[in-house]
Symmetry: C2
Subunit: 315 residues, 2 copies
């Protein structure tokens, strides 16, 4: 079994979870990580406890780019906001000639659209980028591709998630991204909010954020895979409880369609309530990273959606 | 959009459903079909109504082999019994130098094992065979690969299906395959049963067959994909009602595992009760056929399990 050496961009909730998941598996070895203030490299692998030793840097991404021959793949766990941020970071890797694979848990349709424009750059560098490899898009949109198989017409795909976290301050960026989906909020307004302003908002809703018609890239990725003929047939929403680890609703993907015999029905994929956002994001992201390595090995380059390939099982 | 020209081996319940599904889609065109007594070829495509015009032949498979340059892919909808039957038929295509793709809805582990031995032949002919592309194995085992992503340890995978058919005599071979799984029955005993003997057995159980620990290739295909470390962790069973079209239980794949945080939980994939066995088998089989065409185009040859790739959406 060949190890997969990984650089993790971002050391927030998801970045930290990456280190933990890698610690439980044989194949992935996180050898580099950075946040907005520092970075770390270790050939032997980085554990959660090593994070306090991050080396300060004015350009941590630049430092990770310098190390580009020391890892096979990158998992992008940077804040999703603003939409241009992650594509801008990736452009730097392309310009530097990085040849390897990437996965991300990008969520917004507009951000994924920006990423798709980098296809030629990935191909030039013989690289593979699989976009939207978290839970949604990712695990649940891939399940929609499977569910679609039974139908000759797909009516709609509905993703309704529940997330419960007891410590929202460990997911500061994620919570702001969710707030940006609320009516009356924008991406820039949410990003500018102080922690106190977030607390105040959460106090009004007993710690819950109920989100409808979120801009989630499940729509573009399912259209790309041919599951729906219009992005409007995909809807994503959910309930985030910031005060209880228990999920307020079971995360469910429901695909409704009509079979060749004219029967209307729905297939469902339901995530166990005890599974955390981190488990449902990092697991798929690693599985898709292994698939990306497979694609590169077979000289299939460019950017793809998580709806196009089965993630592999990272041992 | 390039059409995919398909030869269907077998004109029983599944073979007929193939013609119907293809009639509802743009990409697949069934140009050849055969049963044990005759065959048919039409460049323009074959519909259900054309089946009465099957040309009698002593070797219908041989006739389909002669036509091997006229289609892109083969869907094997032949009876699963005996285990050696389908591998034997496929060996004839390999010997004749057929270069193309195949999918099948083979169910038994021992039959898939025999198929796996033909890998070198497929590679030699620059062919792709994706095995076990129906509902189980197929749709449900692929869902298990997705579900596994969230866990660092997978405890077990349980597939429990419900099938309701009001006309068992349209699925004579399938019913005998199910009977072979019953305690006290063997593959050869089930195959030798007359229709009257089958009726008599069904009379005793009010038309229901309840099957536990079936020999289904989900086990070997999930082990191959790395989802489980032992085939024993996969169990397949279900309830077949031969007298009502309504499913006696909802077909469900349940994967139980432990996340990196040590939480035990289960993800589930549940098929809509209104979807028939035919819809849940033919849809995935066509989706995997399109994937097989994609693999061949990328010069990736050999035999693979349905757990290794995402089926594509056949438009």
């Amino acid at each position: 079994m060949k190890e997969i050496r990984i650089a993790v961009l971002g050391a927030g909730g998801l970045g930290k979870a990456c280190l933990e998941v890698a610690g439980k598996k044989k194949e992935p070895r996180v050898v580099a990580i950075c946040d907005s203030h520092g970075y770390l490299y270790s050939k032997e692998g980085i554990g959660l406890e090593d994070l306090k030793g991050l080396k300060p840097s004015k350009d941590p991404i630049g430092e990770i780019i310098k190390l580009r021959h020391r890892y096979d793949g990158i998992f992008v766990a940077l804040p999703n906001l603003p939409n241009e941020f992650i594509p801008g970071v990736i452009r730097r890797f392309i310009s530097a000639g990085y040849s390897g694979v990437y996965t991300c848990a990008l969520k917004r349709t507009s951000a994924i659209k920006l990423m798709m424009r980098l296809d030629a750059g990935f191909k030039r560098n013989k690289s593979v980028y699989i976009a939207g490899c978290g839970a949604t898009p990712g695990l649940l949109s891939a399940a929609a591709v499977l569910a679609a198989q039974s139908f000759t017409k797909v009516e709609d795909v509905n993703i309704w998630w529940g997330v419960g976290i007891s410590n929202w301050d460990a997911y500061r960026a994620t919570i702001r991204e969710d707030i940006a989906h609320l009516s009356g909020y924008t991406v820039s307004r949410a990003k500018r909010m102080t922690d106190e302003a977030v607390e105040e908002l959460l106090d009004k809703t007993d710690g819950r954020l109920v989100l409808h018609n979120m801009e989630h890239a499940d729509d573009i990725l399912l259209k790309r895979a041919g599951v729906v003929d219009s992005m409007k047939k995909v809807s994503v929403g959910g309930v985030m409880d910031t005060r209880h680890a228990r999920k307020p609703v079971s995360t469910t993907m429901t695909l409704t369609g009509t079979t060749f015999e004219g029967k209307r029905s729905s297939h469902r994929f339901i995530l166990g309530d005890e599974t955390s956002m981190a488990a449902n994001v990092i697991g798929p992201a690693f599985g898709y990273l292994k698939r990306a390595v497979w694609l590169k090995k077979h000289r299939i380059y460019g950017i793809f959606g998580s709806t196009e390939f089965m993630p592999m099982v990272m041992r």
